[in-house]
């Protein structure tokens, strides 16, 4: 009886969670703007920040959330407290602060989001020889923190940057630092770049943080280029974990149930374990793992 109850409970939980994910408990996704036309800089917050940073030659680290606030072109506009404050007025939910020579501009909610990997910590991080290598290696290592990969090294695919490659960095090893702190360190050592991260939401799921964060870099010495930051569509399949996740692909069309609120629903019996494992997999991909941990009584939180 107990086994049956547990099974039913889990099944009910799953079906409820799915139903919520289909639109009851979960809010409708914000309307998506049309895809940007490449060639002209989109009139958005990311481009405004890059334009201002380029104009003032001040490095900027931006943590933004999609969709970006519409901001008229800021080409030629200086980056200073006044213009930043003005920008913040046009972009509710954002703040900025000085980090030495660099500007840190961020979405307040995202700043504290659980799966904002910029907040996770490297036990050790050795600064690479130049900014181009930083561009190649840091994103993989930072997002790998979500999977628990904390060691040095990694794997890359993608593009370096010729101009950033000219900006040499001091080889130092920072300990117990977040990726954000790494960026601030480097921006103060070589104040010649901008980096913009655009998360698909202010409270991204782990999966979103792994797959759908657009992370753009550029040199402040280059000709002003438009920055395109719209997160990729859901059908993109990126798996940075340790192995194949077929389940993840099967449920790829399910909208993330990031706002599922699950509280203590009781102990899962041994018989309910397979179903719970299945649920765990889904939750780990699409939801806040913390909810699962509530289910795993005694599990790490």
């Amino acid at each position: 009886m107990t086994r049956l109850c547990s099974l039913l409970l889990a099944a009910t939980f799953l079906s409820c969670a799915w139903a919520i994910g289909q639109g009851q408990a979960r809010p409708q996704p914000p309307p998506q703007p049309p895809p940007p036309q490449y060639g002209q800089p989109p009139a958005d917050l990311a481009n405004a920040l890059v334009q201002m940073a380029r104009a003032s030659h001040v490095p900027i680290i931006a943590e933004l959330v999609w969709p970006l606030p519409k901001i008229p072109t800021a080409e030629g506009k200086p980056l200073n407290p006044g213009t930043l404050n003005e920008l913040v007025k046009q972009a509710p939910g954002y703040e900025w602060k000085m980090e030495g020579k660099a500007i840190h501009f961020y979405n307040k909610k995202l700043r504290n989001a659980r799966f904002n990997f910029l907040n996770l910590k490297f036990p050790r991080f050795t600064i690479p020889p130049d900014l181009s290598d930083l561009k190649l290696w840091l994103p993989g290592r930072a997002e790998g923190l979500l999977e628990g990969y904390t060691g040095e090294g990694g794997a890359t695919s993608g593009f370096g940057d010729t101009l950033l490659g000219k900006q040499k960095l001091q080889r130092v090893t920072l300990e117990n630092v977040t990726p954000l702190e790494v960026l601030v360190h480097v921006a103060n050592e070589s104040p010649t770049f901008y980096t913009v991260l655009v998360f698909p939401s202010a409270a991204p799921t782990k999966d979103e943080a792994e797959k759908r964060v657009v992370w753009q870099w550029g040199s402040l010495n280059e000709k002003l280029q438009p920055v395109y930051t719209q997160p990729p569509l859901r059908q993109m399949t990126v798996d940075r974990g340790a192995g194949v996740r077929p389940f993840s692909r099967r449920v790829a069309n399910i909208y993330p149930a990031r706002n599922v609120a699950v509280v203590n629903i009781g102990r899962v019996t041994t018989g309910g374990a397979p179903l719970l494992a299945l649920f765990e997999k889904w939750a780990a991909t699409e939801s806040d793992t913390a909810t699962v941990r509530v289910l795993r009584r005694g599990g790490p939180h």
Partner: protein
Amino acid sequence: MTHLNTSLLCAALSVALLLSLAMSLDAAAQTVASSDAKESHPATQHPVQRLNMPKDFEQFGVYWTEEPGWHTDLQLRNNLAAQELVVAPALRSVDGTESKLAPVTIQPGDVVTVPLHEAVMKAPPELASPYGSVVLRYRAPVGGALQSTAMIHLDGRPIAFHVDAYGQPEGLVAGSREGIWWLPRETATDYLVLTDTGDKPLDANLILRDSSGRSARQKLTLAARQTTRLSVRSLLAKSHLGGFYGGITVEVAKGAAYLDTLHVIFDEVAGSSAVMKMFDQDPRVTIQERAWGGLKDWTIRAPMLALTHPDPALGFPRDTTLQPQVFVRNTTPQPQTAQLHFNWRSATSSGRTRGISLSLKPYQTQLVDVAALQTQKLLPPEAQWASVFIGIPGVQPDQILAVATSYDKTGRYGAQTPFSDQLSAHWEGDKWQVDDTHNSIITVGNGGSKPARAKLTLLYNHGQDRYEIEQLLASEEQMWIDVGQLARTQTPDKKGHVLPPGDASGAYRLEEVRNTGIGNLFEGKLTVDKTYGEAVYGCMTCCNPGLGYMLFNPLGVPVSGDAFQGVWGIDACTGNQVDMTGWYSTWGTGNTAIATATMNHIHGVAAGSTNNHAWGAISWGTGQEQRHCPIRDDTPSGGTDVQPTVTISGPTNIPMLKAGAQGSDSITVTATGNPTGGTYSWTAVSGGSNITILNATSQNAILQSVAVGTYTVEVTYTVNNQNGTATTVGRVQQPGSLGVISNATPTFNCGNTGLPAYNTADRLIQYQVLDTSGSPIPAAGMDASETTLNVISNTCNVAGPNPTINSPTLSDGYFQGPDSLQLCSAQCLPAGQNGVPLGSCTMKVAQTWGVNGYSVKSDTLTYTCPGPPTGAP
């Protein structure tokens, strides 16, 4: 005495261009290649086209006869260069009754002989008399398409003369026919033939004068189309005038264009005949209209006077001694002084005599005994030929006239050479003939004051083959061509052609090479009939365009740019298009604020419309149609549209963008107009379904992809209602694959990532986007993203690579940099000698690149410790 070529007027026509420009109308419409113009540009309109419409024409021969013993052959030459000519002859009896003969078809450049005896036999019996006049009707693009001659001969006797047919000269109302009568022997018979070619009666005054100028006058009335044949000998007897030579005048107060006359003498006893050429005298004509070759005074020439001891080529008996003489007549009531000189030629040498002054009393006719000049050694006794030049200052055209004869004492053997003032750059001749009993001798001279290059073309094989002779002639220099000798010796021309060795005949053409104005050449021809020892002269007719027309009308000229205008006309004989541009010495425009002219070089100053015009003194028309090729002012004009210029800059390759994907699916093209201040309008002229044009009325248009294919877009830039256009051609391409530009495997020290140092090999692959056909897409802004980057297996204990998202391509379609595949892992440690990793691990990653939403490349990458990663490119 035919009307021959005395009246043939000048043609200042570029001979070389005439041939080279005998092109199709369509082809000519494309470019101009004038003598002055150094550029070509497309024509917007070709005004010459309307000149080529066929029209009906008529020519009239003053006399034919089929009286007993007499026969007449019509020689009809088609002057057209490229189309056959159908001629409908009709014979008129003395009372004007007309009898139509069978039409005759003549191939281009060919001569057809129509024996009237046979034609009359087949004709309806309307003819009221066995002689009269002839009318030739034809439909052609130009009046000079037909050159016609009536060859009249007495059977079995060395008696023959030819009568050229002409159109009715336009505008000639009051005027006269002037001639010289000559009755060398009592046995000589003469005919003075008068024909009214028109359809209305003519009233005329016939005035005969003796050599001193004393006159006798009588009124004549000619009915419509009537022919009257008089005898000067009889008229002289009635008028009590004496002597054996004098003057003839036939005055017409109204309708002079319809009067034609002929004076011939023949002696059946002696077996001789002569044509005493008569001339039109038009009181309206001034010396300026006949000042060919840059000459200021009235100048007439007879190019081939046979001298006392004739050239053996004439075929006369060896001991024949000729009596060359020149009759010179003053038709004015004032005394005149003529200056004569001779250019002579013997078998071995040539030269020029000093001038001989000849005083002429009012109305006087004088005889210059050339034989006596030879006796006096003013002319070398051994000289065989002479050209006679007579210049008379202060008179108007045809007020002094001359006739030359050269016969032996009996009148049996001899030849004539007609006087003419005409110089031309283009002549068309009737017939040369070479066979067992005939030969043709042709001479060409330069009557101008500067050297001229003459090209004589003998047409044969019914006009299909050509024999060309070209020579540079100094002023008054002549070249002599014995056609029979060329045929006998099979002398090749400059192109290697030889004349047929046997019987041959054909038409001939004379052109002044590279002439760009009023021509300088004169000519003469004798056809020798060895059967009777008779040499009959023949004639060429001068040929020129009518009026000139601007080639481009309107002429489009870019602002601050240049264009070349041209003037074209239609040659009145061949129907060929003739470039007349070089004939016009003064050019201008109607508004120099819009356009200026430096010769035919039109420069655009500002956008707007004005005209362009030219002025030139040109040789006009054809002698066959008008009897003259006079010099006239011509002022062609046309419109000038000074148009703004516009250029297009920007890319041309447009990528497709998959629905819902991001990236560039458009390009921006920029038009730059000159001058500024105009408006722009963009349209697709082809491939319009492949693109959408945004901002179609702005300077910068956006071309957005719709479907794969090519397109052509035109921008029209408008200033002051003038348009300038430019086009750009491009392609819409769908990303289909990636091309590998480079593939390097440099060594990387993983110590740079914070690990203990060891070396691994990276793989750096530079990609370029290709379309579905494998062609590069050189377009900026295509979105390159790794749409799949799944770790399939991983023993390296490091996170998989971070995907590239939203990376725009460069303008050449390259990715922003090489795809950098590298792995550094603690699993690869420790490092051995030279940094070689001694540990091992493997990471397999499924990678798919997408461009603008299209999957373009999928690989399974395998990262290992020593590297380089494999599986790509």
